[in-house]
């Protein structure tokens, strides 16, 4: 339709513009602004960012470089989360999607695996606490059953192991997402492609790499981007388990931002952390955003 009057669209658009400006756009700009102010609202340039990096809770790579146990600082922790969680949940999601294509009851299994995505993350945190408990948790019982009883402990009580334990736990939670996206992606691949390849004598492996993987590219982009964003924004789980402890070994950026803002009341530092977090999310989402806008 080709309508030149702008009165009508405005009426349709007014609530959107109003709500977005007041509750999203202005706050975003304001947060950036606050990140350059000190407690007395004086402009202090990048001082808050420098302060942020000087905090052990945010940036403490010396432990990592020296090969010691965490804490390494929230920024590093989120980074480790990405490095471990992304490939694992992508792999398991794809594996499950492939496996469950022709399995009887596959739909039920998919729903079960996806449950982790549907529950609140505070409950997810409670589930993980329970699962990793020394006596009452199934992870330790599993270790005992396979003969590794010496390794049992409450995994979330130790700085050395809490981050790893949480990351693996979030793989369990998030794999459902990549599985569902890949399942949809797989269904969208025309069967004829496989038929033709089979006739041409291509092996299973070849068919997978030459047809499946490239056709799954859009799905992979979505999975990678959404997973990256999720890994950056982890909050509820860490809060419920040890509030970033012990000794800051599970601190993440979103939690640190909250603590700085609402416990320590240093809004400037908190705004700096939030801005840093957003720059990272923008950066990681840039490619997907670019593709979305191209349409």
């Amino acid at each position: 339709m080709n309508l030149r009057q702008t009165k009508i669209p405005l009426f349709f658009l007014a609530p959107t513009i109003l709500l977005l400006t007041l509750f999203v756009i202005f706050p975003v700009v304001n947060t950036v602004y606050i990140s350059f102010l000190d407690e007395d609202d004086a402009f202090v340039g990048t001082a808050n960012y420098e302060k942020m990096f000087s905090k052990r809770d945010f940036w403490n790579p010396s432990n990592l470089i020296e090969g010691k146990a965490p804490p390494y600082g929230a920024l590093v922790h989120n980074g480790i989360w990405i490095v471990l969680h992304l490939p694992l949940s992508l792999f398991f999601g794809l594996l499950l999607a492939l496996l469950l294509r022709d399995v009887k009851g596959g739909a039920i299994i998919k729903s079960v695996v996806f449950l982790g995505m549907v529950i609140p993350m505070t409950v997810g945190g409670i589930l993980l606490r329970f699962v990793y408990n020394d006596k009452a948790g199934i992870v330790n019982e599993f270790l005992r059953v396979i003969g590794l009883g010496d390794l049992t402990r409450t995994w979330t009580a130790y700085p050395q192991t809490i981050l790893l334990a949480l990351i693996l736990g979030t793989v369990w939670i998030w794999t459902g997402f990549s599985m569902i996206v890949y399942s949809a992606g797989l269904e969208g691949i025309p069967k004829e492609l496989f038929e033709a390849a089979k006739i041409d004598g291509a092996s299973r492996w070849r068919r997978f790499w030459r047809i499946t993987v490239p056709m799954l590219r859009p799905a992979t982009i979505i999975v990678i981007t959404m997973t990256l964003l999720w890994e950056l924004k982890i909050f509820d789980i860490v809060w419920v388990i040890q509030q970033g402890g012990p000794g800051g070994a599970s601190m993440v950026m979103a939690l640190m931002m909250y603590l700085e803002a609402f416990l320590n009341r240093s809004f400037g530092t908190a705004a700096a952390i939030a801005t840093m977090l957003t720059v990272l999310t923008f950066g990681f989402a840039a490619y997907m955003v670019y593709r979305m806008v191209k349409e």
Binding site: T6, L10, F12, T16, I25, I119, L229
Partner: protein, 299 residues
């Protein structure tokens, strides 16, 4: 009923081959099924554990819920969670409903109107505004919360459900508008044009013709938004503080902290809080998955 067993030379076959022959399927299919069901069992174990913890007395849980020699289930966990002195689920669940329903209905309404504009009308700055919209989808909650806290306090909507609902509504708009605009763009315009020629107003065209055709998309948005709002914790803890107003996610999170309760109560509370979003997902699964997969950029 008489079973006719096929001839098998059992001595020469491995078990998996025996099963395969019996079921007349390929060996790999057996393996795949075993692997799939095995993984499924692993995946559901934590849920099974928390369910067991919610119905059994504390000593049984402490010794491992997988032991069934002593098994005296009871409902004390649920009663304790429901009536908990500082975080009762009886009120928390209701509070969550009070917030979630408007936070689901309102954005859909606003987003539909907005998305329609982007799709059907041409106006200055349209493409730029849409670009901003796409960008806004990636903003984390942390980026807006400080000013929102201050704004809400200033206009008296802090610790007030209306404030929280408005925030959830605004936050939902970017992705919902993006989603709906894409939906509208493949909706044929002929019917609308015909109605326009007949003299119908835009509003009438919108809710008489367009909305009914959009129902599947709206269903997706409803499912996704409901679950997202119900599960939200961050906006809730900053914007709602009175104990009697706390939402379900806050109640559950408060338990293993200062007011730690025994495992059976915490587990029962967890089950109660997660039942609702699971139910929504189960009832609206098709729409939920469609929405998620169709590039719904919701974190």
């Amino acid at each position: 009923m008489k079973l006719k067993l096929p001839e098998l030379k059992l001595s020469k076959l491995k078990p998996s081959e025996i099963v395969a022959r019996l079921l007349k399927v390929k060996k790999t299919t057996i393996l795949v099924h075993v692997l799939a069901w095995g993984l499924s069992f692993v995946w559901i174990l934590p849920f099974l554990g928390v369910f067991m913890a919610s119905i059994r007395p504390l000593p049984e849980i402490l010794n491992g819920w997988w032991n069934f020699e002593v098994f005296n289930p009871n409902l004390e966990g649920y009663i304790g969670a429901w009536n908990h002195p500082s975080a009762p689920l009886s009120t928390a669940l209701v509070n969550s409903i009070i917030v979630t329903i408007p936070s689901t209905a309102l954005p859909i309404l606003v987003a539909a109107l907005g998305a329609y504009s982007f799709s059907r009308f041409r106006f200055p700055t349209r493409d730029f505004l849409f670009f901003v919209l796409v960008l806004l989808q990636t903003i984390p909650q942390q980026m807006v919360i400080i000013p929102l806290f201050k704004i809400m306090s200033d206009i008296g909507l802090w610790n007030n459900y209306l404030g929280l609902v408005l925030v959830h509504t605004a936050f939902a708009l970017p992705w919902q508008i993006f989603f709906l605009r894409n939906f509208f763009s493949v909706l044929p315009v002929e019917i609308e044009e015909a109605a326009r020629i007949d003299g119908a107003s835009y509003l009438k065209i919108f809710y008489r013709i367009v909305l009914p055709l959009t129902l599947p998309a709206l269903a997706s948005l409803t499912a996704l938004q409901f679950v997202w709002v119900w599960n939200d914790f961050f906006f809730a803890i900053v914007l709602i503080s009175s104990p009697e107003m706390k939402l379900a996610t806050q109640a559950v999170a408060a338990m293993p902290g200062r007011y730690n309760i025994n495992w059976n109560v915490v587990s029962a509370a967890s089950i109660l809080v997660m039942l609702i979003p699971i139910a929504i997902y189960a009832l609206m699964q098709r729409y939920y998955v469609k929405g998620l997969v169709a590039g719904a950029v919701k974190g």
